[in-house]
């Protein structure tokens, strides 16, 4: 008999049974907040370096009342979304094209393996020269970094098509488009979604980096400004906001993933 059935699937993400863990989890967050308040107040940590939580919270409240903050938030999100969208489309199209031909896969493999690990920050000097602190600078970095995540996942997905199903589709003389629509796309979809989740996180990292380093308008730039003007509490407040955006991005990407994967019996591995 099996009372305690543990799922042994390797790739299943957490997500079920979350409600039960909510109470200790909230306690954990409260503990962090309490420490953040007590340590600087008690002088264990220099409050000039780490202002108490309440001060940061009031700085955050101040920020929420300014239009600068909301403009910066909008700029960050817009840059992130546009970059992500471009890299999704480019990654899917290129991935499908390369993936559909064995020769194309073999010819491009080494180039992809070489270009992929090149850190996108290497391009910072180039985009600064070309575009200065315009949003385009951030866009190039975001697209470069996120594109590879999508492309590689799409390639895995196309390679995963069951040869028997592929042969079946051919033997019934499916058109090229029908083969793609009915066979390749459904198989690759879970991988595309995984690529989306990975790309969403990477895109945010690069967007913030570009704002912080190059001065592209957005929250990252505001963090830099707060830091150089000595407004440490505002800096922490903005970092918390950036963290919350990150949480929201991860959570929504996972929700999208679960939605789409629900229709798929196969649970895809992230690692591959």
């Amino acid at each position: 008999m099996t009372v305690a059935v543990h799922p042994t699937s390797t790739g299943a993400r957490r997500g079920t049974g979350r409600g039960r863990d909510a109470v200790p989890g909230a306690l954990g967050l409260l503990t962090v907040v309490a420490l953040w308040e007590i340590l600087p107040t008690a002088g264990v940590v220099n409050p000039e370096y780490l202002p108490p939580f309440t001060e940061v919270a009031s700085a955050l409240a101040d920020q929420l009342g300014t239009s600068t903050f909301w403009t910066a938030l909008g700029q960050t999100l817009r840059g992130w979304a546009i970059g992500l969208a471009i890299s999704m489309v480019a990654g899917i199209v290129v991935g499908m094209l390369i993936g559909s031909s064995r020769l194309a896969r073999e010819l491009t493999a080494s180039t992809i393996e070489f270009l992929r690990p090149i850190p996108s920050v290497a391009l910072i000097p180039l985009v600064v020269l070309l575009y200065g602190s315009q949003p385009k600078s951030a866009l190039v970095l975001v697209v470069y970094a996120a594109f590879w995540q999508v492309l590689v996942q799409v390639l895995y997905g196309v390679a995963d098509v069951d040869p028997v199903i592929r042969d079946t589709a051919r033997s019934y003389r499916f058109s090229r488009w029908a083969r793609f629509r009915q066979v390749v796309w459904p198989t690759a979809l879970p991988y595309v979604v995984t690529g989306f989740r990975l790309a969403a996180a990477v895109a945010l990292i690069l967007e913030i980096t570009a704002e912080l380093v190059i001065g592209v308008p957005g929250l990252g730039q505001r963090v830099g400004v707060a830091r150089s003007s000595g407004a440490t509490d505002t800096m922490y407040a903005l970092v918390v906001v950036v963290g919350l955006i990150g949480v929201a991005v991860n959570a929504s990407a996972r929700t999208v993933e679960r939605r789409v994967l629900r229709w798929h019996p196969s649970v895809r591995r992230e690692s591959a």
């Binding site: 008999m1 099996t2 009372v3 305690a4």
Partner: protein, 287 residues
């Protein structure tokens, strides 16, 4: 516990010595209730049986009878709600020293990052045996299961039947008082299964180890055991303790075609059918 003899059976389990001192395993009033989420499930109600040293006893029950729960309780892997499990005169509260378990999921009970030899040797290292002693035990155990040539392979390079042989070799090398086997052959093909059944009989006789063999396969239980304990459905109790009075020398073809084998098989089969319908021993309230 009811110990019934079916007609025509002669008593094969005639204890020559005082049974109280020659018990390898003694399970008394074992009860297991799972608590969780405001409701509790009574998996095992009241189990009492004992196993003489050096005997081979099979446990069969309908699917969902709590066989695995029972085995995990005996192995000390799962806490029990009431009653006690006594191995070699010692109460079992955590996995005891004198016990080795062979799990059904052979592929998952072997360490995939170790070779066959390392898998067999690891528990011996933990016992603190010297190198020479370990080498002897591992060599003997691998030879006994016929895997001497595969000692440097990794488990996943072997077939399912061979992997289960590795698990058996590991258990044998450990020199346990009691060897617990949890449906060990449920996931191997029929021919391999017959070979492995004979392997278990051979090892049991040669090494004098006490074996408790859990299975859902009636034929396997009757073929292997000296006794067969038939379980009820949940909450589990023992429906009957059937003595298997087949000759000691067993053979896949000969033994299985004897009338006596058919009778015993028939009897156990009926018990299982009753168990499935919810039949319970006298005076027991149904679940």
């Amino acid at each position: 516990m009811t110990s019934t003899q079916i007609p025509g059976a002669t008593d094969v389990t005639d204890p020559a010595t005082d049974p109280a001192t020659d018990l390898a395993l003694d399970v008394r009033g074992l009860k297991k209730v799972y608590d969780g989420q405001g409701r509790s499930v009574e998996a095992v109600r009241d189990l009492t049986f004992s196993i003489e040293r050096g005997s081979l006893v099979c446990i069969v029950g309908p699917s969902g009878a709590g066989k695995t729960t029972l085995l995990r309780c005996i192995a000390g892997l799962l806490g029990i709600t009431d009653g006690e499990v006594v191995l070699d005169g010692e109460r079992v509260t955590s996995p005891p020293a004198g016990m080795a378990v062979v799990f059904q999921e052979y592929g998952r009970s072997l360490f995939p990052w170790m070779t066959v030899r390392q898998n067999v040797e690891l528990p011996l290292k933990e016992k603190g045996l010297r190198r020479a002693e370990r080498r002897r035990l591992v060599d003997e155990a691998l030879a006994a299961v016929g895997l001497t040539d595969s000692e440097d392979a990794h488990p996943w390079q072997l077939s399912g039947g061979m992997q289960q042989r590795v698990a058996i070799a590991r258990a044998v090398a450990y020199e346990p008082t009691v060897l617990l086997m949890d449906e060990p052959f449920a996931a191997v093909d029929a021919q391999t299964r017959a070979d492995l059944e004979d392997l278990v009989r051979t090892l049991w006789k040669r090494l004098g180890v006490t074996v408790l063999f859990v299975t859902h396969d009636i034929d396997e239980a009757v073929y292997l055991g000296q006794r067969v304990l038939v379980l009820s459905n949940r909450p589990t109790v023992i429906l009957e303790d059937v003595a298997i009075d087949l000759p000691d020398e067993r053979d896949q073809l000969e033994t299985r075609s004897t009338p006596r084998f058919a009778e015993l098989r028939h009897h156990v089969y009926e018990l299982i059918q009753q168990a499935k319908r919810g039949h319970r021993p006298d005076g027991e309230a149904p679940a």
